[in-house]
Symmetry: C2
């Protein structure tokens, strides 16, 4: 009969393919019980959405079956607690901190799209920006940093798990060739809730930057979630941003929350490229009346309060909602959007802001 | 000349008025330096928005001036790191865990308004629900759990810091007498960003529940932020909820994110009272056409997918945006809202869900 020491020694040989450290060292092995010639244990993953979980599990089983006197192996999967995750990430070697993939990627410029407030069309503007840049023959990626409310894959009609290799996860590709990474591509069902506290959210975003094989990109567009808490902080601290585009709506309330987002960017010393007012008005399909459904525009005031240019205003168009829901945002070209894209491109500083505090 | 030991002994006598423990024990005292008869130190607060910071500072200075040989005292304020905060809260005595105020409050029922997705009008529906209940002669409070994007005070035209006593913070009161607590009432300016990671967000929400003198309320409405991360988790784990009302918009994308929120409520075993579809359509002021600005309603499908009733649909009315921005939401009565309120009241279970994991 084997003992626990022998089990651990065998598992020392099993490496996490991404982190290239043993599953024992990473604190992934728990609850070892040995009953005659049967070994059972719990394997704690940094995320249940880990695309490599099957291969890690198979390696663990293979290592244990290799021991003399073992003929039954039971592996239970669970997700690490936030505390375990922190310890596990702390165990990562210094030089692999940004992930192996990050060292192979060549990303020209990184633009974050942020609003502070939800529902102002931040994700659709981020997606439209990516489409417009792609149409200008740039190589474009979209990093969906909204972990609890990811909407980028659905807009592009993407689903299914992207393939993962030993070096990193491959982004999904849209019809027109935009590379996309989002938590929703890694979930068993798009309706699944990601009920995570901050450290796990931050870990996922850092993986999307460091462990995804983006390859050569001219521009990476980062879609930020609402709020100025963990996700936004993590993006600003661990991804070198060239600038931020703020999205607002005509509501005064939205303006207030967007000013908070702008203030955060200032404090984190990331350049604000300007403001886009979305959902400014809608056109009555019967009589052509321009209706200001969210009240009169306050974008000029908001832009002035933040000391940044108003890059443009976009209408609320039911057709955009329809295309997004159908996964066909690439076939939608909004009026006046070209001028907004030009204004953004003109204002991107060549040099990215070095994160203030590191990871 | 005094020494550090004497300084610490003097400060042992200074109690945090809320936590009723010494500032030394709570780990609030740092960087003591003594130069001849001058003492300087840093006082770390759990939040810079602490309404009692002036009084704690005065107590610290008084204690130090009471020492022989001290005639100059310099106190610098800073905010605790997340780690310090956790340690400090860990130092709280068990029996005061829910705050002194919580023991004086008598709150009948707690209804959370949630959407998962931002910008679907969750806060305005939460506010309208509070107004409607108040008009039914109930005593009503609103706890704004959206710490990074708080919009409740502006809708009610509230500003200024609410008074705090030794037992707890008093909520602000609206024109019609609704009691309100929101981080925006505690910030120096409504535009100030709250750049906090999860543990501080959770701490603020727990204080709004445990350290606010709500008094006697028939219903407390909790306005949740977008997402299924720290804020929502903290509300579901530390506040006994009677039920959750989900808000969606006609977009398929919104429906997807709202289903994630519904799934979270299920997993946390909080009853879902039903769904309200907001921004269903707008009416053209010129020709009266009903325009589905966010596309065709999918609320029936979303309700069916979650197995909960559709409580009603609300139009997108520019007048509501105007009243919200003017702080006059109490003077706005939406059509058909009465039926929604009745449906919610009918479905509230008498017994609150006991939090799953405690604080």
């Amino acid at each position: 009969m084997v003992n626990e020491q022998q089990v651990l020694e065998a598992l020392e040989q099993v490496l996490d393919p991404e982190l290239r450290r043993s599953v024992v060292e990473l604190g992934m092995i728990h609850d070892i019980t040995i009953d005659e010639n049967a070994v059972s244990l719990t394997l704690a993953l940094t995320t249940m959405a880990c695309p490599l979980r099957g291969s890690i599990m198979a390696d663990v089983e293979q290592a244990l079956f290799g021991l003399d006197g073992v003929d039954d192996v039971q592996v239970t999967l669970r997700e690490m607690t936030a505390e375990e995750k922190r310890r596990s990430l702390g165990a990562r070697p210094q030089q692999a901190e940004s992930g192996a993939a990050a060292q192979l990627n060549r990303i020209g410029q990184v633009i974050a799209v942020m609003s502070g407030k939800g529902g102002v069309g931040k994700s659709s503007v981020a997606a439209l920006l990516a489409v417009a840049l792609q149409q200008r023959s740039m190589r474009v990626g979209v990093l969906d940093a909204d972990i609890t409310g990811p909407s980028i894959p659905k807009m592009f009609g993407l689903s299914g798990t992207p393939p993962a290799g030993p070096v990193g996860i491959l982004p999904a590709e849209t019809r027109s060739g935009i590379r996309v990474m989002s938590i929703n591509l890694l979930l068993p069902s798009e309706d699944d809730a990601v009920i995570w506290r901050g450290p796990l959210i931050a870990g996922a975003i850092q993986q999307f930057w460091g462990d995804v094989l983006w390859g050569d990109l001219d521009v990476l567009v980062v879609d930020l979630p609402p709020g100025t808490s963990d996700a936004s902080l993590t993006v600003m601290q661990s991804i070198p941003l060239n600038g931020i585009v703020l999205i607002t709506s005509p509501q005064g309330l939205a303006g207030m929350v967007v000013r908070k987002a702008g203030q955060m960017a200032r404090q984190m010393q990331v350049p604000l490229l300007g403001i886009v007012e979305n959902m400014s008005y809608t056109i009555c399909p019967r009589c052509g009346e321009q209706i200001e459904v969210f009240g009169q525009s306050k974008a000029t005031d908001t832009a002035r309060a933040l000391g940044v240019p108003l890059l443009g205003r976009l209408p609320l168009d039911p057709e955009l909602a329809r295309r997004c829901d159908a996964g066909e945002i690439e076939s939608y070209i909004p009026e006046h959007f070209g001028a907004i894209v030009e204004a953004i491109l003109e204002r991107i500083p060549a040099k990215a802001t070095v994160p203030l505090f590191g990871r």
